[in-house]
């Protein structure tokens, strides 16, 4: 039998529910008179969510801010109740919704351990037994009798985490708690989580924005979007889908904000009228496939005579890292442009950048003097969709912008002495040393 069963759970919040007593009285009177009081449409934080978790499973829950992750966890922890549907949890549950909830500034570290562990449901005898372990994990031996208002924020978080993870329960609910403390402590937290999950075989629900972590720890991942489960399956697939949606969202905000951000300068002699991207079938698009052929068409309005203009088109990331720039020098006939409307076309074969969101930058300068006429960043934002590439596995998310067209090969090298494995590695080192010494030879020769 499933240890957690969530069946058709819907959670609604009535927006602006906290109106004044006066309004409540008016509404109540309206209802008494048989009229319906004015009501706002409820906001669905969760919409018909349905899933089961088997014992020992590690379920990741990912999604954007406001997708309903925390609402879901709160309902599993019993903090809040579903509007419709039901939740069955068979087993003891330890919610780490936020570490350090309930720490009291005026109390010492020791007192806070007792207080916080009691709040989380640990019995007094059990706390006494685990006390030293908690203190050691939090690295607070020296300060344990100091009021925690004198602690640094990092120390408080360590204390909270150490107490929270000492709770013995069959189900562990973890909400964004791993990103605490300095790097060394984060490492320690992560190891502790991995220990709880992998070796102690507990059932875990993990909510995080750290997708890489979710992918590594979880056996199954739920993707929530606007309160709905839009995917429930293997970590890699779900995480990839999440990346895709993220990109789309960045792209959409980019589109709406495109006009405002980015550097734009013009001498007033020419202006951009339109920027459109076309796919290989000649349709105007904002999304293109990885390695598709595309055409960019820019409409210019020229106001004065422009002698021998040079056009440039570049591609940059959403954070203005310039990835590529092309200039029309030598590709277009040199002539003076008379005032009027022009359309510039630039065709790119096999668009090389990996899936993500990119923007165009445009420039026009006068030939010879290179005097700028017009410059615009963020002129058009577009998204590259990955067809079948598995980014998280093949390239890692955002670990680069282009894929290399290479082949891998690994083979053992035959050696004179019969030692095989470690010997070949030593051989590699020797080769590297050879390379560097030949460089210095050249150096000597030149002198």
């Amino acid at each position: 039998m499933a240890i957690i069963e969530v069946s058709h759970v819907t959670k609604e919040f009535r927006l602006g529910e906290l109106h004044s007593a006066k309004q409540s009285v008016f509404d109540a009177m309206a209802r008494l008179r048989g009229r319906s009081a004015r009501q706002r449409a409820p906001f669905k934080a969760l919409d018909d969510v349905d899933f089961k978790v088997e014992s020992g499973e590690v379920l990741g829950v990912i999604g954007h801010n406001g997708a309903g992750k925390s609402t879901l966890l709160k309902m599993l922890a019993g903090i809040s109740k579903p509007t419709r549907g039901s939740i069955a949890v068979r087993g003891t549950i330890a919610p780490l919704i936020e570490v350090g909830a309930g720490l009291v500034d005026d109390l010492s570290g020791r007192e806070n351990i007792y207080l916080n562990a009691s709040i989380l449901g640990l019995k007094r005898a059990a706390i006494a037994r685990k006390f030293d372990e908690i203190v050691a994990f939090a690295e607070l031996e020296e300060f344990i009798d100091t009021p925690i208002k004198r602690y640094s924020s990092g120390m408080k978080v360590k204390l909270g985490f150490a107490v929270a993870t000492s709770i013995e329960s069959e189900i562990l609910i973890v909400d964004e708690v791993l990103a605490v403390g300095d790097l060394a402590f984060q490492r320690k937290c992560f190891d502790r989580m991995e220990d709880l999950i992998k070796r102690q075989g507990r059932t875990v629900l993990l909510v995080s924005h750290n997708i890489r972590q979710v992918e590594r720890l979880c056996t199954r991942v739920l993707l929530l979007e606007h309160g709905k489960v839009i995917n429930d399956g293997a970590p890699t697939d779900t995480c990839n889908l999440f990346y895709e949606i993220s990109d789309k969202r960045i792209h959409e905000t980019k589109l709406s904000a495109a006009a405002g951000s980015g550097r734009t300068a013009t001498s007033g002699n020419a202006e951009v009228e339109s920027v459109v991207m076309f796919d290989e079938h000649g349709n105007a698009v904002n999304e293109i496939g990885y390695l598709d052929d595309v055409e960019i068409r820019v409409g210019y309005r020229v106001l004065v005579n422009l002698p021998d203009p040079i056009f440039g088109i570049g591609i940059h990331t959403t954070d203005f890292l310039y990835l590529a720039t092309s200039q029309s020098i030598g590709s277009l006939p040199t002539e003076t442009l008379l005032p009027g409307h022009y359309v510039l076309s630039y065709k790119i074969r096999r668009f090389p950048f990996l899936p993500g969101v990119y923007s165009l930058r445009l420039g026009v300068a006068l030939g010879g003097s290179f005097q700028p006429v017009l410059y615009s960043e963020n002129a058009l934002s577009f998204q590259v969709l990955g067809k079948d590439i598995n980014r998280a596995v093949q390239t890692g998310y955002r670990e680069g912008f282009v894929a290399l067209d290479g082949d891998w090969e690994l083979s053992a090298q035959d050696l004179d002495d019969a030692t095989s494995g470690p010997g070949s590695r030593r051989d590699g080192v020797a080769y590297a040393l050879d390379g560097s010494s030949s460089l210095s030879d050249k150096h000597d020769a030149r002198r």
Partner: protein
């Protein structure tokens, strides 16, 4: 109701730890420490004694300061556990949003905290009695029962009040005022004997006297204070006629208050 009692037993350690936290935090950086707990009844007792020297309140064969202190003890316990109980849920909003345990723990903890202060006041009362050369007799063993009844009466207000306070903070603001008014309708400054005399002996309100007296004793504190003074100071049994109307009221209202609280509890985390 049975689950309520089971919850209290299951979570007794948590209640104890939270109450200990309340007390430690409140008095941690105060020089007088828990001494503050006795300051309020002591000063009120002195003020009442001073006022009495002008207006003349009969106190029977018990010295007035002791009588007043014995009235203030259950009264302050009731008033403070009720008003702090009402504020306790909203005051722990951070915990309510993050961790689940039965929410009635909060008003009960507020009351437990006050119970500790009551015990300290009991020591002061014992000192006062020793000073005035008074000794209690066997009836004093009724006192804990009366205190338990006081706890139930204050929970009746605290549970419903705390639940409403989550939605409308007016309750938390208004209740202390209401309760301090209730003090004048309770035999704190004057003994119940005076009211009895006026209504039941002198029949000051004519045919309405009996009704008025029942109405007066509908306030649980009337019976509580009178009985507490009886068993501790006068060596008499609890005054059942004064207790009965209030007891019936609490017996009806407490389950309703609890059910209302448990119903509202489902939405605390969403609204608070």
């Amino acid at each position: 109701m049975i689950t309520a009692i089971k919850n209290i037993i299951d979570y007794r350690e948590l209640i104890a730890v939270l109450a200990w936290k309340n007390i430690t935090v409140r008095y941690k950086q105060a020089y007088l420490g828990i001494g503050w707990a006795v300051l309020k009844p002591l000063t009120l007792m002195l003020v009442f004694t001073l006022v009495r020297s002008f207006v003349g309140i009969p106190s029977g064969n018990v010295p007035y300061p002791v009588l007043a202190f014995a009235a203030l003890m259950p009264w302050i316990f009731f008033q403070e556990s009720a008003s702090e109980g009402v504020l306790s849920v909203v005051g722990n909003a951070a915990l309510i949003r993050k961790i689940y345990f039965p929410r009635e723990i909060f008003p009960i903890t507020a009351m437990t905290t006050k119970l500790v202060e009551l015990c300290i006041n009991a020591l002061i009362l014992a000192l006062l009695m020793w000073w005035f050369g008074m000794l209690p007799n066997g009836q004093v063993f009724w006192a804990p029962v009366i205190i338990i009844y006081t706890m139930l009466a204050s929970l009746t207000i605290a549970l419903a009040g705390a639940a409403i306070n989550v939605y409308y903070r007016d309750v938390g603001a208004g209740l202390p005022t209401m309760l301090s008014l209730l003090m004048y309708a309770s035999p704190v400054i004057y003994p119940l004997e005076m009211v009895k005399n006026k209504l039941l002996v002198q029949r000051a309100a004519g045919q309405w006297s009996d009704v008025l007296y029942t109405l007066y004793t509908l306030n649980p504190l009337a019976g509580i204070i009178e009985s507490f003074q009886n068993v501790v100071l006068r060596g008499l049994p609890p005054d059942l006629t004064a207790l009965m109307p209030g007891m019936i009221l609490v017996a009806i209202a407490l389950p309703l208050s609890y059910l209302f609280f448990k119903h509202a509890e489902l939405y605390f985390a969403d609204v608070i």
